[in-house]
Symmetry: C2
Subunit: 337 residues, 2 copies
Amino acid sequence: MDCCVIPLRHGGLSLVQTTDFFYPLVEDPYMMGRIACANVLSDLYAMGITECDNMLMLLSVSQKMNDKDRERVMPLMIQGFRDAAEEGGTSVTGGQTVINPWIIVGGVASVVCQPNEFIMPDGAVPGDVLVLTKPLGTQVAVNAHQWLDQTERWNKIKLVVTREEVKEAYQEAMFSMATLNRTAAGLMHKFQAHAATDVTGFGLLGHANNLAAQQRNEVAFVIHNLPIIAKMAAISKACGNLFNLIQGTSAETSGGLLVCLPREQAAKFCSEMKSQSSAVGGQGAAGGAWIIGIVEKGDRRARIIDKPRIIEVPPRGSQAANQDNNSASPAPSPNLS
Amino acid sequence: MDCCVIPLRHGGLSLVQTTDFFYPLVEDPYMMGRIACANVLSDLYAMGITECDNMLMLLSVSQKMNDKDRERVMPLMIQGFRDAAEEGGTSVTGGQTVINPWIIVGGVASVVCQPNEFIMPDGAVPGDVLVLTKPLGTQVAVNAHQWLDQTERWNKIKLVVTREEVKEAYQEAMFSMATLNRTAAGLMHKFQAHAATDVTGFGLLGHANNLAAQQRNEVAFVIHNLPIIAKMAAISKACGNLFNLIQGTSAETSGGLLVCLPREQAAKFCSEMKSQSSAVGGQGAAGGAWIIGIVEKGDRRARIIDKPRIIEVPPRGSQAANQDNNSASPAPSPNLS
């Protein structure tokens, strides 16, 4: 499970909590703080929990930073983390900071819940539909962005992508990773989700496999479609499947929720994700939603079909996205700008 | 405060939680795990909380370790952490592990409490007595032990201490740091403690100052006695007060509780600490207890008097300790052996 669920001594309540920490992967410290917070909260959201009672922040300052860099970078990272926590309706009231060779950022999210507040991730039934709420390809985008300054690497992918496209994809990945999965968590209740997980280090297929393995019923998850940040599939292919993106095992950071929904609810879930996303501040600000597969009878494993359909997801704010959205001038996101 | 206390949406309950992580400071990985766990739980115990609903473990494996060392060291450290958690009546159900240049070990402790389960650390009144439940000097002992192999350093202290005494002090420090403050937390309720904190990185005086600053009444803490692991005061003096041990600012790891007790309760608190300590497995296994000072009217600060009395605390199991205890053969501690 994405969280631990501890039955408490008090009136049927449970303590649900999770922790996560890692190393910076984007250059903007403020956005990095937001991403770290979104990533921690995501484990609660994957259980359909929309509230968080408290967060702790885990930080390390790099011993290799000089005072000036430290004073410039760390407050921004902390502010990003706090702002994302506030957007999640919670706050950071404690934590620990140490000195370390590398910068570390992460946290702990805890909530005390009644049983109806969370959805145990084990109720998938044959006939369910699988929905994913953020596009894949964050790792590829972050790496490709670093390769802009590495001639040898860049030469491998420059035939399939422009510098501008890489920059747009990197921006899209950064915004996507900083997006809370909270809207999706709320809609899991409204549309009676049967199970969910969030997609992170093991990639879509890894987490789909974990989720399938936990199901009470003998089911299998079959994935037909892969929504991917535009051009990232081409990059992954151009460097000899270095990331295994199409194979489903490219790591994601603060990825979307993979949700099992009753067949008749899936389309409504997706359309409401879209409309809420526009409502909270422009295209994509609450994540997206794509139907990516189905639940069949099976041996509690997940697989991607041969030649899955790649859904190229245009960066928000790009011309393609605007056309796609039938909106000439989407409002900028107040949460992410 | 040592923990954050979050009022919950449910029936007067509060979520109390704390996190701490640091780098190994003793050579024995199993004991290091125990110390890390005792150190995390100590923040709950400082608030008089004796139960913990859940722990998460935070770990990093050093990238500089080879596979063999990793497989030998990390399981022992994890086991030590788990065993100490079990001794605290709780368990570890989650966490996060990363790769890092340095080893990190720590955790998160969380509990959902009714208001009568914790003691807010702000009720000291003039006339109260200050009690400390572990001897000081852990940092000095750990450093002196490293100096056994550093001729230049060793030469500075060899006139005041023998190699054997350093080894005994190191053992004592290790056992002391691995000792849970849980017994003391329970006795805080029985003897109506007015406030408490645990002594860690800022040393006795640093934490006494923090505690004094939080008091509702205008009080000052005056410290007369310093219980110190035997010979550590002499070592600190011999190296030119490098550690500021007598000045009260030598860092401690997983130190004792500093407790403000009503004058008429302090002696009973100390004697019960002693008898419970013997009961749970031999001398010192639940910590000790020393009256170290008094609470006066004042400006919410703490100070140590000129020429405080140094109480030399003999290592448990040493001849001096046995005589002191009137026990020819104290039972070995089942928890710490």
